[in-house]
């Protein structure tokens, strides 16, 4: 199993901070009415995207979910274009045509957030098929939730990946809720990984609040895929701090505050920072400096987004078709 280096630990740490501060800021801007539409925030789940993505290059594809900002940030997304997209500005990654739920950047290998629960896995299988057909050693990673694991699309995709032994890693971010419904009310099982056996692939579980554990397990799954040994279902047990949409996380009718507090005690950033400090890799002061630096970048990018022009109405009909 690959040993994590200091450089990788610091890289993961920075990606997690970038996601956390971006998301908290975006949530506030949505509440303030500055960002139109709906945001699904990734706060609480940062360890997963960050620790998976350090194994991938821009030529490795990912598909994401409606909760997709974290995946794009971890894949190398720039704050300027991301905030601009959330603001619906012409300078956004999608020129203001996609917004939060379709934010994407193919140059980074990110095949889009997706407004359809279960929309990603079939596309990831297509990308994995393409990787294999074009005889590359690139992989594709499909992020999805416990909710999506009940969609037929997931089952069709998983079966095809198993059948063709595709270099696809299915990463189930099991945050215990499909939108507003607790897992116990939406599926008869608790471990989505149990479903892997039905598709001829190994299914393993890892603590999604522990970036190092995710790094190790994802590394094995990705190594296996690159070696042509086929797909893996990796279930990461995690938690969504905020509501399905927007920020409010406490005082919700469908989950208890105690539950939220239990999970927050296992905060992936705090626990990583503690271990980095224990091992003398990153002092608390140095960690704080990362937070401060990222916060400044976020503020600069919000300013960039706010000062960017709205898309011209003449562009409305552009990009429906390719030439």
């Amino acid at each position: 199993m690959e040993q994590i280096t200091d450089a990788t630990l610091l890289d993961i740490h920075r990606r997690m901070i970038r996601i956390r501060i971006f998301e908290e800021t975006a949530g506030k801007l949505m509440e303030d009415g500055k960002i139109p539409g709906a945001l699904h925030l990734y706060v609480g789940q940062e360890a997963i995207a960050s620790a998976v993505m350090v194994h991938l290059s821009n030529k490795d594809w990912i598909t994401s979910t409606h909760r997709g900002h974290g995946h794009l940030i971890a894949k190398g997304g720039e704050f300027d274009q991301m905030f601009a997209e959330l603001y619906g500005k012409a300078t956004g990654y999608c020129k203001g045509k996609g917004g939060s739920m379709h934010i994407s950047n193919l140059d980074l290998g990110m095949l889009g957030a997706n407004g359809i629960v279960g929309g990603g896995p079939p596309i990831a299988v297509g990308a994995g098929f393409s990787n294999k057909f074009r005889k590359t050693d690139n992989v594709s990673v499909s992020f999805f939730g416990d909710g999506a694991s009940n969609e037929g699309s997931f089952h069709e995709a998983a079966n095809m990946a198993g059948l063709y032994k595709l270099p696809v890693i299915f990463i189930c971010e099991n945050n215990g809720y499909g939108e507003y419904t607790a897992q116990k009310n939406h599926q008869a099982i608790v471990d989505v990984a149990d479903r892997a056996a039905g598709y001829g692939m190994p299914g393993v579980i890892v603590d999604g609040m522990d970036a190092i554990a995710v790094f190790e397990a994802a590394g094995e799954a990705i190594k296996r895929a690159r070696a042509g040994e086929g797909p893996t279902l990796l279930e990461c047990k995690t938690y969504r701090y905020f509501d399905h949409v927007g920020v409010r996380g406490m005082g919700l009718s469908y989950r208890t505050d105690e539950e939220v507090e239990q999970w927050r005690k296992r905060d992936p950033i705090e626990s990583l920072e503690k271990r980095l400090a224990d091992q003398g890799i990153l002092s608390p002061e140095a960690a704080q400096a990362v937070h401060d630096e990222v916060r400044t970048q976020v503020q600069d990018s919000v300013r960039f987004a706010e000062q960017s022009p709205m898309p011209d109405p003449s562009t409305l009909l552009e990009d429906v078709y390719a030439a």
Binding site: W61, G115, P122, F129, S153
Partner: protein, 332 residues
């Protein structure tokens, strides 16, 4: 042997499809075929027969019966550097994969601000007349013509089948090629070489002077028969095969109506909410001053496709019904 002329090659529609697919696989290294029963069996209608043998297992793949997975594969593979041909055995099965067609394939380019291209071709089979009943006989082109981002073509002859498949595969957009199962045995001229039919250009299959019939899919052949019958009534019908429904060649149709002053649209699909309603509406908007009568429409009645041959024959429009509608419109 100066006078020894090469006789033009004729092929049935089904073989023209094969020829089109073969041409695509030859000219595009990153093209492949995926679908249910396409490789080992050569397709339920046999139009992939010989492809596996000629191109090998790296170019054509049998899939599970997983339509959503198949279309998703086409989306993901086309977004990442391939030019897949995906086969949807019957158009009726779009219900199994409409999310991938409608929400992913059609919209991905737009949602991503034009920063992705999806050169994916979907072949699918429509049409009633084979007693396959309500779930294997529909013509659902209206569903997909309503989705910005898709192109939709309906070849009606062997020549068009090959040419439109090649055009679809060369196009950088998702193109759905709607084939017709009752046309599979129809013979026609199909050149050996690769050729493309521009998507969005209608074909005036029978020029005429005083009546325009816009016929969709297999109804082109019924319209041609109707035109022969109408000759006896002094009507010289111009029959237009749009070939492409999305984009639609409005200009050719309007130009024809400006000349003929009367028009009828015919398709196999249910009349209510069919593509004919859109075409009739466009004619009335753009050529109202030229029209001597409202645009007529012929389509299937508002019921599912029935099974029994006795009922089905009554269901699918034909030349007689076209003639009857023309006569009704003219009051004769």
């Amino acid at each position: 042997m100066a006078e020894a002329q090469v006789k033009p090659r004729t092929l049935p529609y089904v073989a023209a499809i094969t020829d089109g697919v073969r041409a695509v696989l030859r000219e595009q290294d990153n093209a492949f075929v995926v679908g249910e029963d396409v490789a080992g069996a050569g397709g339920v209608y046999g139009y992939y027969k010989g492809i596996l043998k000629e191109f090998g297992p790296d170019r054509i793949y049998d899939t599970p019966i997983s339509e959503e997975g198949i279309v998703g594969l086409g989306v993901g593979a086309s977004a990442t550097g391939c030019r897949p041909i995906i086969d949807l055995m019957f158009m009726d099965f779009m219900g199994e994969c409409m999310d991938e067609i409608s929400n992913q394939m059609a919209k991905m380019r737009y949602m991503f601000g034009g920063r992705v291209t999806l050169p994916v071709t979907m072949l699918t089979m429509a049409g009633a007349g084979a007693s396959l009943a309500a779930q294997h006989s529909q013509s659902l082109e209206a569903w997909i013509c309503h989705l910005p981002g898709l192109k939709v073509v309906m070849p009606t002859t062997p020549y068009d089948a090959k040419g439109l498949i090649i055009s679809a595969a060369r196009d950088n957009n998702p193109v759905i090629v709607v084939l017709n199962k009752m046309s599979l045995g129809m013979m026609g001229e199909v050149p050996e070489e690769s050729y493309a039919i521009p998507i969005g250009e209608a074909n005036i299959v029978r020029p005429g002077a005083n009546y325009t019939i816009v016929a969709i899919g297999r109804m082109v052949h019924e319209a041609l028969k109707a035109a022969e019958q109408l000759k006896d009534l002094g009507i010289d019908a111009e029959v237009i095969d749009p070939r492409s429904l999305q984009p639609f060649d409005t200009a050719t149709v309007v130009k024809s109506v400006e000349k003929t002053h009367r028009a009828l649209v015919v398709h196999e699909a249910v009349r209510f909410g069919g593509i004919g309603a859109e075409i009739a509406s466009q004619i009335q908007e753009l050529a109202f001053d030229y029209l001597d009568a409202p645009v007529a429409r012929v389509g299937a009645p508002f019921s599912p496709v029935p099974f029994s041959p006795a009922l089905e024959a009554h269901y699918v429009p034909n030349a007689d019904r076209i003639v009857a509608e023309v006569k009704k419109q003219l009051g004769i």
